[in-house]
């Protein structure tokens, strides 16, 4: 734990939470998950809006009976598979190793919590 305590009496978990390693891990996770989520939701909404309000474009034939609507729909499948694969790769490299390191360094600090009842 590199950083000094911020609050007067931080718990041990708060010290981990404030540590450099954890902050890096958190930003690795958030800097991937948040923008990518916004990206695919917007891409999906674009598709939904085009389906509603651009019938001319969507009905344009591409090949035989296959039109733009079908191609765009299938592209949603392709991007979903691609993003899933991209995240799997990213998490293997940037999230799992630092998470494992923190677990090993602090394994004894955080015990399995008690029954959550009050």
């Amino acid at each position: 734990m590199d950083s000094p305590p911020i609050t007067t009496s931080p718990t041990e978990v708060q010290l981990i939470d404030d540590s450099e390693e954890f902050r890096t891990l958190r930003s690795s996770f958030r800097s991937f998950a948040f923008p990518v989520t916004i990206g695919f939701v917007l891409w999906y909404l674009l598709y939904v809006l085009l389906s509603c309000y651009a019938p001319g474009l969507m009905g344009t034939k591409v090949l035989g009976r296959v039109n733009v609507a079908l191609v765009l729909g299938l592209l949603q499948f392709v991007t979903t598979f691609a993003i899933a694969a991209w995240y799997a790769r990213y998490a293997d490299r940037r999230i799992d190793p630092p998470a494992a390191a923190i677990r090993q360094a602090h394994g004894a600090v955080v015990h399995a919590p008690r029954e959550s009842a009050e």
């Binding site: 609050t7 931080p10 718990t11 978990v13 708060q14 981990i16 939470d17 404030d18 954890f22 891990l25 958190r26 996770f29 991937f32 998950a33 990518v36 989520t37 695919f40 939701v41 999906y44 909404l45 598709y47 939904v48 809006l49 389906s51 509603c52 019938p55 969507m58 009905g59 035989g64 009976r65 296959v66 039109n67 609507a69 079908l70 729909g73 949603q76 499948f77 979903t80 598979f81 993003i83 899933a84 694969a85 995240y87 799997a88 998490a91 799992d96 998470a99 923190i102 677990r103 602090h106 394994g107 600090v109 955080v110 015990h111 399995a112 919590p113 029954e115 959550s116 009842a117 009050e118």
Partner: protein, 539 residues
């Protein structure tokens, strides 16, 4: 219709035999799994011993419900391209679960969604809210499955009488209670795995047969579907179902948003992440699920257009009556692919695919019953009613009683919902999940400032607004296809409430947090953050 009915009656013995085999096999699995259940963790989370791949299959089994198989194929067969829009929303939604929910949930919870929502809040109010919303979402979803079962039986037995439907719904209800009570999560998971494999094999077989009829040329299939539909190229373009007016377009946007945000808030999906040992295994299970479900939806595209070309609206009208919901498209297509009605091949295919569809329904209802009864026992009974004083045995026993109760409620409600399309009912479950559960989950995991008041506000506001808007929508009254077509008390124009109720859920959580004087607990948030990302202290 008479021909079809008689051929169906002749060979219904075969369907019953196949389905009986599935029931016997799954009951054996259930009893075997039940004998190994010792702790609460075994009952709720299958001992957390499943692999990512096994759980991926089980998730697919839970997700590829009657709505996916019967519902989407039927919607495509009736409305062409607009039915495909469902599959896209259902699939893209998995990215929300993959990127934001699966791993943090696995690390920070134990048995139910409420474990995560209540992690840093006051337990009783948050668990009450989460338990209620879990049960409401699951019951909507259960209804959809049981209505699908009723539609199937009408087709299989060649009768349109209500008696057969009722007995089917009762039998499905009784079986699902047995699976859950005896097998717990371990038994239910294996039932899902078996069913997922059967469904994928069945759908793949039909897809190959459909494509073979059109020389493996998708364009030819599309052409045949378009001309058989009588709508021409419009059948292949968006707008047939949702393009009629500005209202129906808004309805479609509303549906689209609910689908993409709903999955990651479905309680029976969320509890699946607890059946694996680590967050990494939870991630792997979602990755497998995305692959399996994606391929399955591509196949339903072929099945839907195949049914449009080979069965047609008239085929469904003959079986379902004047306003078909499309729920029978897939089994009727199977009959056509086997050689048509009246032939032995047709009867065999119809029997096989119907048995697969029954298996599908049975497995999904078991998953739903398990998730909702677990939430009743773990959240409402153990933590709220008994204030944490109930032992593990008492808690599991109350879960089993809850399974009986929830099963009974679902059966009774299903007897009245028979006219609604399974896909439409499932879409409503997604809207409620997206409005009540997802905002609260996201705030809990990622917003430090979030408080108990915020959590309770977002769950109830999302839940009440979405359910109320459905009650006052054309789904219930005032339309041709309404549940009560002869009365009219609707004032909300859209069939899907998501467009309004999802923002309400998010807004309520935000306002509830800012307006209350309550201070969040920074130490608990630090604990949640560390645990959800690293797995330190996870169960």
């Amino acid at each position: 219709m008479i021909v079809l009915a008689s051929s169906a009656t002749e060979h219904r013995g075969l369907t019953m035999t196949l389905f009986g085999l599935f029931v016997v096999a799954t009951l054996v699995i259930t009893v075997w799994a039940g004998r190994q259940n010792r702790s609460a963790s075994d009952f709720y989370a299958g001992g957390r011993g499943f692999t990512g791949f096994q759980n991926g299959l089980a998730i697919s089994g839970d997700y590829m419900s009657a709505a996916s198989f019967l519902g989407i194929a039927g919607l495509i067969a009736l409305n062409g391209y607009d039915g495909f829009l469902y599959s896209i929303g259902f699939l893209v939604a998995w990215l929300v679960a993959l990127l934001l929910i699966a791993e943090p949930l696995r690390n920070s919870g134990r048995f139910t969604m409420a474990d995560v929502l209540a992690f840093r809040m006051r337990q009783r109010p948050v668990r009450t809210a989460a338990g209620v919303s879990t049960i409401v979402v699951s019951i909507f979803y259960l209804l959809a499955q049981m209505v699908g079962a009723g539609a199937l039986v009408a087709l299989l037995l060649g009768v349109t009488g209500e008696g057969a439907k009722r007995w089917t719904i009762l039998a499905v209800g009784a079986l699902m209670i047995v699976y859950v009570v005896i097998g717990g999560m371990k038994g239910t998971t294996w039932v899902q795995i078996v069913k997922a494999v059967l469904l994928i094999v069945g759908a793949a077989l039909m897809t190959v047969l459909v494509l073979a009829k059109y020389h493996f040329n998708p364009s030819e299939l599309l052409g045949a579907a378009a001309s058989a539909s009588g709508k021409g190229t419009a059948f292949l373009e968006p707008g047939l179902k949702y393009g009629a007016s500005d209202t129906s377009k808004l309805d479609f946007i509303s549906l689209g948003i609910a689908l993409v945000l709903g999955t990651a808030g479905l309680p029976h999906i969320l509890v699946r992440f607890y059946t694996v040992p680590t967050a990494k295994a939870a991630r792997k299970s979602v990755l497998w699920a995305i692959g399996i479900i994606g391929v399955f939806y591509l196949m339903t595209l072929a099945l839907g257009f195949g049914a449009a070309a080979l069965v047609g609206r008239s085929g469904m009208v003959a079986v379902e009556g004047k306003t078909p919901s499309g729920n029978t498209a897939a089994p009727l297509l199977a009959e056509q692919l086997g050689g048509g009605s009246g032939t032995t091949g047709g009867a065999i295919m119809l029997a096989v695919i119907s048995a697969v569809a029954f298996a599908t329904i049975l497995a999904v209802v078991a998953g739903l019953t398990l998730a909702s009864s677990a939430s009743f026992a773990h959240d409402l009974y153990a933590n709220v009613i008994r204030r944490g004083k109930a032992g593990e045995k008492e808690e599991v026993l109350s879960a089993k009683w809850a399974a009986v109760g929830i099963g009974a409620v679902a059966v009774v409600l299903s007897l009245y919902a028979g006219k609604l399309s399974t896909a439409a009912l499932v879409a409503l479950a997604f809207a409620v999940a997206a409005s009540a559960n997802l905002p609260t989950l996201l705030y809990s995991l990622f917003w430090k400032r979030f408080t108990t008041t915020g959590a309770v506000s977002s769950v109830y506001a999302g839940l009440i607004s979405s359910v109320a808007l459905v009650v006052f929508s054309p789904v219930l009254s005032g339309g041709k296809n309404s549940l009560f077509p002869n009365t009219d008390f609707h004032w909300f124009p859209l069939e899907n409430p998501g467009l309004v109720s999802i923002p309400i859920g998010f807004l309520a959580g935000w306002l509830g947090t800012l307006l209350s004087k309550e201070r969040p607990d920074p130490a608990k948030y630090a604990e949640l953050e560390v645990r959800s990302l690293t797995g330190l202290g996870a169960h």
